[in-house]
Structure formats: structure tokens, C-alpha cells
Symmetry: C2
Subunit: 133 residues, 2 copies
DNA sequence: CTGCCAATTGAAGCCAACTTGAGGTCAAGG
DNA sequence: CCTTGACCTCAAGTTGGCTTCAATTGGCAG
């Protein structure tokens, strides 16, 4: 059973040592032991960090990530809750996709002023963002 | 020429008065006048706020949004920045998709430990996020 | 004219997710 | 044995985007 120094975990995971200590504080990961003062991490922490990093990249807060995966990296949510999450993700993906396409369009729109482009106006209204002018 | 009280702008735009003052501090919006101490906003501010809100939703910082207005407050959208942002959105969408599939899989996978399930590991590696375990 | 209530100011506070700094520990190599 | 350098702890600082607070002002209805 090989244990890893925090520096090695940092290097292999791309997560800074200070962040690793922070995660441990939060309870997202656990160090397996100490050698003197030094934390020793079990190798499974690398996989857990993958999950954390993935979740963060997907826009979740650390708290939310914690809720999706337990300390051991095993999901501790019941199946239907997991599916609910996935559904929510799908919805978010659709929204982002719309926004992305809108941005693309605006970037390429040849109208002299964006304000005059009907599609742009639609975009502003689509989000129900537009105030009643 | 109708001028709007900050409270009315807040209500119509959905942006809190404190945020409006903050935006004014930053130079994102300008009040047209004062009536006593009270700011009076011109109606064009509502359109600007739509853009600001949209920009925020797309993941731009207020600084970046500020760069999207000309001196006159007319939108002056930087096309390549928009494309960059769209690219970033695409990346985020990919992450979300990955996470979504991971969740779905986890919900349905019969393997005793998900971490050992090859399909699950593949999902994690697909993002090239995984550390070299 | 009076009193209410919305608006004003500047400073301070808050949250997340870390990073930085100061001062201390300790295991291993020469 | 001694030095080195990676690690430790705890506190404070950082950034962005606001919100909250206390004390004050002033427009407007009655």
C-alpha cells in the first residue's frame, strides 16, 4: 500500500497543496495517515480529485460536489435522486447551448448595430431578461 | 423625457438598487440627473441593464461587460471575445455532459464499486481531467 | 408646515475558494 | 551531526459582486 505525500498528490492531480489541505478541512478528501506531521494520502484520493475537478468544471460548488459524492468518492445519493440531478443537468445544458448559439450569432451578425438586429433583440427578450422599456 | 427613480429602475430591470449604485460606481451605467439627492435614470439604462444581465449570464465579468459599451453607452460588442466566450461555453457544456453521463451511469451501473467500473473510469478520463493513477 | 418614507452616503460585511505569510517541525542525505 | 527543503498550522489577505448598516437628506401628501 503506497501512500502519497501531499506534493506528489498535487503534482499528479494538478491541485495545489493548499487547495488539498482546504479540501481536507471541508471533508471532501481524507488523508490516510501522517508521517511525522506530513499527510499521507491513499491513491484513491486521485480518483476523488478527478471527480471534484470534473464537478467544479461543470460549474458546481464544492458543497454541491460533496453532496454528489461521499468522502470515499462513492455516490451516496439514491438512484432517483441521481437521475433528477442528471435531468437538471440536461436542462442546464440546453440553456447553455441556447446561450452559446445566441452568442455565436451575435458575433457573426452583419447588422451595423446589434441593437438593430432582430435576432439580437429576440435574444435579449428570450431570457425574459429585458425590462419593459 | 421621462426620468426614472432608482427604485423604478430596480423594479423594472430586476436589479437591486444597491447593485445599480454599484454599477454606476463602476461606470457601467450613468444617471442622467439628480432630483435633490436622488438619481434620475434615463430610460436607455434599461436596455443597458439587459445587456449587462445577459453578459453576466454568459459568464462575462462586469469589467468585460464594461468593455462592450462604447463611450456613449451604445453596445460595442467585441466579436472575438464573444467567440471566445462561446468556446468556453462549449467546453462547459462538454463537462456538464460528461458529468451528466457519469451520474446516469452511476445510477444504473450494477457494478459493486463504481470506481472499479471500467466504463465509469473511461468517463472520467474522457475529460482528460484524471490524474495519472 | 409637518411627518413619512424613499433615497443618499461611506464604510463595513459577506461568500466562495483559495493563496500567502510567518514561524515551526522533522526525515533524509551528506 | 547538521543542513536542507518539503511539509506543518493558523491567521490573514484576495477577488468579485454585491448587501447591509447607521446616520442623514429631502420630495411630496395631507
Amino acid at each position: 500500500m503506497k501512500l502519497l505525500d501531499i506534493g506528489e498528490v498535487a503534482e499528479r492531480s494538478g491541485v495545489a497543496p493548499s487547495a488539498l489541505r482546504y479540501y481536507e478541512d471541508l471533508g471532501l478528501i481524507t488523508s490516510a495517515a501522517r508521517k511525522g506531521l506530513r499527510r499521507q494520502f491513499g491513491p484513491e484520493v486521485l480518483l476523488q480529485l478527478s471527480l471534484i475537478t470534473l464537478g467544479k468544471a461543470a460549474g458546481f460548488s464544492l458543497q454541491e460536489v460533496e453532496g454528489m459524492f461521499g468522502k470515499d468518492g462513492q455516490p451516496d445519493l439514491p438512484r432517483d435522486q441521481l437521475h433528477e440531478r442528471a435531468d437538471a443537468l440536461e436542462a442546464q445544458i440546453r440553456e447553455l447551448t441556447l446561450l452559446k448559439e445566441a452568442l455565436r450569432h451575435v458575433a457573426d451578425c452583419p447588422a451595423p448595430s446589434h441593437l438593430e438586429c432582430p435576432k439580437f433583440q429576440k435574444l435579449l427578450q428570450a431570457g425574459s431578461i429585458t425590462a419593459e422599456v
